[in-house]
Amino acid sequence: MKTTLLTKNIMNDHACRVADGYAVVSAYTDVNEEYCVLRGGVGLIDLSSVGKIKVTGESHVEFINALVTKEIEFLDIEKSLYTLLLDGDGQVIDLVNVYKTEDAILIETSITKRSAVLAWLNERKVDDVEIEDLSEMLAMIGLEGPYAWKLGQRLIDFEISSLPFQAFVEIDWNGHHVFFARTGVTGEYGYKIIVQMDVAHQMWETLLGYADEDVKVQAVGMDALEIAMMEVRQPNMTVEGNELTLYEACLEWLVSFDKEDFAGFDAIHSMREQGVKQRLIGFVTNPDHMLDANDSVVVEDTNVGKVLQICYSPSLDKKLGLAVIQEEFSVSGIDLEGLNQNGERVLIQTQSSPYTFPKSWSIKII
């Protein structure tokens, strides 16, 4: 198991899990407490294990544009974009965030797919581009929460409200070069800081030190983060990135279908012509019900799908899940049943996303 320098400095004896060979902290304290920080204060998230791949060279924009499902040729400098990377068969390799600078593109991968993305880029590499894996040199720290902008403001010397969603700036912080980006995954205000790995711990401690009476700032682990992501249906590659096609995972919104070509283009058009047989849908069930990933979903005695992910949502006080269901039943607002490993049936009700209302939607940056 590998551990980044930042994670090594902050993990202590906290609960950890392994993603693509890297240690990530599941929870620093209590998952529900950390969840409440994300939805009510500012969660500090160690994202140092995500892949950070720099692509340069004369045709670097064309090279990346030919691989991603969104159009990036005309993406402005200091803007970022979420897009999918597909393989030649149209299967999702990863959901990546692409940051465009004056002379390079920085690709942020998910933790679980960083090796796969790097391998795919190297496989498709052309002569006049350079691919550099900066994952060990750069750390990434996420700020998520309705008051994340208050913390972010402490790092920059202009009004943070003027930084639009999916924009970033390069700043100097104590003599160190830092990327400061507005981009989030929980529906709350979100920012990401990309900083040299060897000063990331110093940055982490500085950010924690900005907590005051008004704003709670606390380290938040992956468990709480993934609950908050699911509540707003932010794709999670550990769930949507395995087994499912982009149509089954309902990821069409991450594809520019009017783009002329990209890797996987023919395959996904062919898949669409063949029709979609199952789709992902959110559901809730009562918190005392026993239901786990891979349990079946049934209507009367007919199996119509299976549970892919399930967790407790503190906002809903219910278990919230995602299930892949036969297309004809994959709509919001119907009652189905889950069939658990003990053969017990539990009521599940399909839901509309977002499953909770992020506080940030009713808070203006001042």
């Binding site: 979420y82 969603f165 999916q166 707003v232 249906r233 309902c250 990821l251 069409e252 919104w253 279908f257 009017d258 849908i281 959110g282 009562n286 005392d288 209507v299 009367e300 007919t302 004809e328 039943f329 994959s330 709509v331 919001s332 607002g333 119907i334 009652d335 189905l336 049943e337 017990e344 049936r345 539990v346 009521l347 509309s352 996303s353 977002p354 209302f357 939607w361 009713s362």
Partner: protein, 108 residues
């Protein structure tokens, strides 16, 4: 009857396979109608079927903005006779959220 259901759920009567399928079909007709209206009235250059039920309508999702929201207020009232108030941001969370709101507020 499902004896393992708790008190809150015990009164729940599950529909049959066929009834559930029909209910799902009706729901899909509504979301498809909403998508077609959004594309037509906001002049979006895309096929309505490429909008997914749960994708965000604003920002990172469909990319609508506050001007589009004003147009949607009018469109939903025209098409369904349902008024959306401008402080209700939740309704624009997705096509599904819009469908929920219409179903809750439409006059039979």
């Amino acid at each position: 009857m499902n004896p393992q259901y708790n008190d809150m759920e015990r009164g729940t009567t599950l529909l049959t396979y066929q009834e559930t399928k029909e209910k799902a079909e009706k729901r899909r007709e509504l979301t498809q109608r909403i998508k077609a209206i959004i594309v037509e009235r906001l002049n979006l250059d895309m096929e309505p079927s490429l909008i997914t039920d749960d994708q965000p309508l604003f920002g990172r999702g469909l990319g609508l903005d506050s001007i589009d929201a004003l147009e949607l207020f009018v469109v939903i009232e025209d098409e369904f006779g349902v008024t959306i108030y401008d402080d209700n941001m939740e309704v624009f969370g997705s096509v599904n959220k819009l469908a929920d709101y219409i179903l809750e507020n439409i006059e039979e």
